[in-house]
Amino acid sequence: MTTPTIRVQRENFDLQTEIDRLTAGRADIGAVVTFTGLCRDEGGSLTALELEHYPGMAEAEMRRIGEEAISRFSLLGLTAVHRYGKIAPGETIVMVVASAPHRQAAFDGASFVMDFLKTAAPFWKKEHLQDGSAGGWVSAKDADDRARDKWITR
């Protein structure tokens, strides 16, 4: 039985290293899909996003999401890493790697995990602005709820 690899960490990650961990020494994987989420600065006014999380529950919820993805898409491997702390524009926030025999399952697995990470994993983003002020907490998006709900209704 495949179990997901879950990490919540301050440091950055290396995609190729994570892929190699899932694929080393086996010849049954035909497809690996990765997602990397990065800190955007739309208006040029952001110095950093500060990522807060619920220690313990964040890992537990990511593990539940990962197990559901493995079961639903028959994945051969699933790794999800979410960072916390202050993250500057252009830096990475989150990484998902899904491996499977064929490409559609790998694409679906990575996309499913991201849609549920966004809406169910206990992380929150606070903006820090260039004028030194805290720009407030990022609001949850209806579009993220809709992206999640497409997996429920089909």
Partner: protein, 85 residues
């Protein structure tokens, strides 16, 4: 019932503490009851829980709906909608 409450993001900021141990009255049965009870504890709680319908509750680190009972909870997390990923 004694329970550890943990707060996150703007709920934590408004209540102005990351966690606390509380002794809950017997009238508090569901997660929704808990939010109504907390609102009576002071201005910070009132500000944090002004719109309880948007607040998320986790019992022993698992999401629960507001109409679910909290009996058996050791730790209850209270926080706004998640914005990670």
């Amino acid at each position: 019932m004694k329970v550890k409450l943990v707060y996150f993001a703007w709920v934590r900021e408004r209540i102005d503490k990351p966690e606390e141990d509380l002794d809950l009255p017997d009238s508090v049965v569901t997660a929704g009851d808990l939010l109504q009870h907390l609102k009576t504890l002071g201005d910070g709680y009132e500000a944090a829980l002004q719109y309880p319908e948007v607040i998320r509750v986790a019992v022993n680190q698992e999401h629960v709906d507001h109409d679910e009972p909290i009996a058996g909870a050791r730790e209850i997390g209270i926080f706004p909608p998640m914005t990670g990923g």
